[in-house]
């Protein structure tokens, strides 16, 4: 049987390269519609009273930065705008640097924020699920000091935090395990704290079932599109909004090539049938 002639995939690579690079350089600004799951996250944070404490866990590494870093920045910004105090932590070793990077990026926008009062970085702790369980039993035993070596007893933000009881909500930015699932199983299911999260687009189907009647997950930011939607909701377009233009063009190119591939296939099949007759 004659094989369908396929376009050399290097042409496709070249088009994808331009399709992604050009919108990042020359912003198109395609309009974006917000979805329900993103709204749920926004409403959770927006509805928190001033002075609440949020636990943000950075459970990803540099490989997932393009998708998760923009949403992390948007969520942290929203928390700071609502005067929600943030306890940063990480269940992945490189998550600490991710958190540090976000704080560094936002420092100039919020010069009045004080470390130890408005936010704190507790650093990374190995152990995944076991560590999260231990935090629920005795937070201070798991994190006796922050990342800089200061005792948490000296930090005003940590006053009264002995487990998850005085935490307003938990938010995990997750690229795998340990991540959102573990936080849901412990922080929400065992301790009843509202839990939300952001994940890469490819992991979203595994997390979506947790958005249910029991509210195991209060909304989900899935992928770059959700990050861009969140930036739209907080009215601060950032790298995710820019990236969405690139993602949209790239998807369009893929769809066009799929169409070309199908047209070629059916044309060849028709020709074969005619030739066979």
């Amino acid at each position: 049987m004659r094989k369908t002639k396929q376009i050399d995939r290097r042409w496709l690579f070249l088009l994808i390269f331009f399709g992604v690079a050009l919108p990042l350089i020359f912003t198109i600004g395609l309009p974006l519609e917000t979805t329900k799951n993103v709204h749920m996250v926004y409403d959770l944070i927006d509805g928190m009273p001033k002075g609440s404490r949020a636990l943000l866990s950075f459970d990803y590494d540099p490989a997932s930065m393009p998708e998760l870093h923009p949403m992390a920045k948007a969520v942290v910004k929203h928390c700071f705008d609502k005067e929600i105090n943030i306890i940063f932590t990480a269940m992945w070793p490189m998550g600490v640097q991710m958190a540090d990077d976000i704080i560094e990026q936002l420092k100039d926008d919020y010069p009045d924020l004080k470390y130890g009062e408005d936010y704190v970085n507790l650093g990374f702790k190995a152990g995944g699920m076991i560590t999260i369980q231990s935090m629920g039993k005795n937070f201070r035993e798991v994190f006796p000091k922050d990342m800089n070596g200061s005792s948490i007893d000296e930090l005003p933000i940590m006053e009264g935090i002995n487990n998850f009881s005085n935490i307003g909500f938990v938010f995990s930015l997750s690229a795998g395990a340990p991540g959102i699932k573990e936080w849901v199983q412990i922080a929400h299911d065992a301790y009843g704290r509202p839990t939300s999260g952001g994940c890469t687009g490819v992991s979203a189907p595994a997390m979506l079932p947790y958005i249910n009647e029991q509210k195991q997950l209060t909304g989900l930011l899935a992928g770059l599109k959700a990050a861009a939607e969140y930036e739209t909701l907080i009215k601060t377009p950032g790298s995710a909004t820019k990236g969405m233009d690139a993602q949209s063009i790239a998807h369009l190119i893929i769809i066009i090539f799929i169409a070309i591939g199908n047209i070629n296939y059916w044309r060849d099949r028709k020709a074969l049938k005619k030739g066979g007759k």
């Binding site: 995939r9 490989a63 629920g136 039993k137 005795n138 201070r140 035993e141 006053e159 009264g160 002995n162 487990n163 009881s165 005085n166 795998g176 299911d189 065992a190 301790y191 890469t200 490819v202 992991s203 189907p205 595994a206």
Partner: protein, 368 residues
């Protein structure tokens, strides 16, 4: 006058009694006796803050928590040992820090021998395990068990033969997770069979690994396979080597091997994350016949699209039984199928009950 005084006395007494705050402590259920659940209700008095202190025998009074919640609960899991009586004191304060009311109580925790929250898990686990064990041992009867064809496993011999004919090596990747993951062990099980075949056909085998523990095990598995095939001399210890723990460093290394060595057959059997498509596409571009198998649902679509054969989920774990044709192992597959039947029945009943508004099955199966 007398009646008025009595009425006033009763009224004031009621008022005073109704100002009592409730402070209850109970043992946390289904644990090892390391926690107590404290609950309070100070809504009857206008308290702004509560402070709870605890005193163990032979120790001082320490503050264990403070809260601005009028009604709340707290899990005290710090230094609690089962069987020891702890004295608790709750102080309700007003906004100026003045103590409005103090309540004292004692409590001790106890350790449970069975976690009642997991009873549904126990029942299901027993049902499935007993059925698997039953079918394993009943396979002794010699009855032929039907197992459907799994294309990826049937093609293993063909792949090895192809590699031998072309004089090109076979590449085997046992996943990117460590030895504590069952997918890695399933991958290594298949490595043994593949290595034996490669030894018989005299084909070169390349096994780059991502974890040091997997390195030791894989080396041992390949060596034993060569010995079993009667070709201990052909075993090259450097055919199984470590690259790096880092996910993308590993995939970069494997891609380099694929591009340079141009293996005729690639096997990706184990746990993979985002690197799955990079590996599969690079392997496709080199013209190799590719067999993949993983239980990671998010990576299966990439393997299905880019590989010639894909072992989906349980097929990876069934591979060992499928290839060995050992009746005991095949019996365990039948037990798994029985487990699947249980799931389908429970699922169907559950859907019907939920639609009817009856939630007891869902509540029973929930693990909280």
């Amino acid at each position: 006058m007398k009646k008025t005084l009595i009425f006033l006395f009763i009224f004031i007494s009621c008022f005073l009694f109704s100002q009592e705050i409730s402070f209850n402590i109970k043992d946390k259920p289904n644990d090892d006796g390391a926690a107590l659940i404290l609950s309070w209700d100070t809504s009857q008095i206008e308290a702004s803050k509560i402070i709870i202190e605890r005193k163990a025998p032979d120790s001082d009074l320490i503050i264990i928590t403070s809260s601005q919640e009028v009604v709340g609960t707290f899990e005290d899991g710090t230094d609690i040992d089962p069987g020891i009586e702890y004295n608790y004191r709750l102080s309700a304060l007003d906004e100026n820090g003045k103590v409005l009311h103090i309540v004292r109580t004692t409590a001790s925790s106890s350790s449970q021998w069975f976690n009642k929250k997991k009873i549904s898990l126990l029942i299901l686990a027993l049902l499935i395990s007993v059925s698997i064990v039953y079918y394993i041992f009943s396979a002794k009867s010699g009855k032929d068990l039907y197992i459907r064809k799994i294309g990826g496993l049937e093609s293993m011999d063909e792949s090895v033969g192809r590699a031998t004919e072309m004089g090109r090596p076979i590449l085997f990747i046992p996943g990117t997770l460590d030895l504590d993951d069952m997918q890695t062990i399933a991958g290594l099980t298949l490595l043994r069979r593949l290595a034996q075949k490669a030894a018989e056909y005299d084909a070169k085998l390349i096994v780059p690994v991502c974890r040091s523990m997997v390195l030791s095990t894989a080396k041992e598995v390949v060596k034993e396979a060569y010995m079993k095939a009667g070709r201990p001399d052909a075993f090259d210890p450097d055919s199984v080597f470590y690259l790096t723990d880092d996910q993308f460093g590993y995939v970069a290394g494997v891609d380099g091997i694929i591009v340079r060595e141009k293996p005729a057959a690639n096997f990706f059997l184990g746990a993979f994350y985002a690197e799955s498509l990079i590996l599969a596409e690079t392997g496709f571009s080199s013209g190799a016949i590719q067999t993949a198998g993983t239980a990671m649902p998010s990576q299966l679509p990439f393997f299905v699209v880019a590989c010639d054969y894909t072992l989906i989920g349980e097929e990876l774990f069934a591979a060992s039984a499928y290839l060995s044709k050992d009746p005991h192992q095949l019996g365990s597959l039948k037990g798994q199928d029985f487990g699947k039947a249980i799931f389908i029945v429970v699922l169907t009943i559950g859907i019907i009950l939920e639609i009817s508004g009856v939630h007891f099955l869902k509540d029973f199966l929930a693990l909280h």
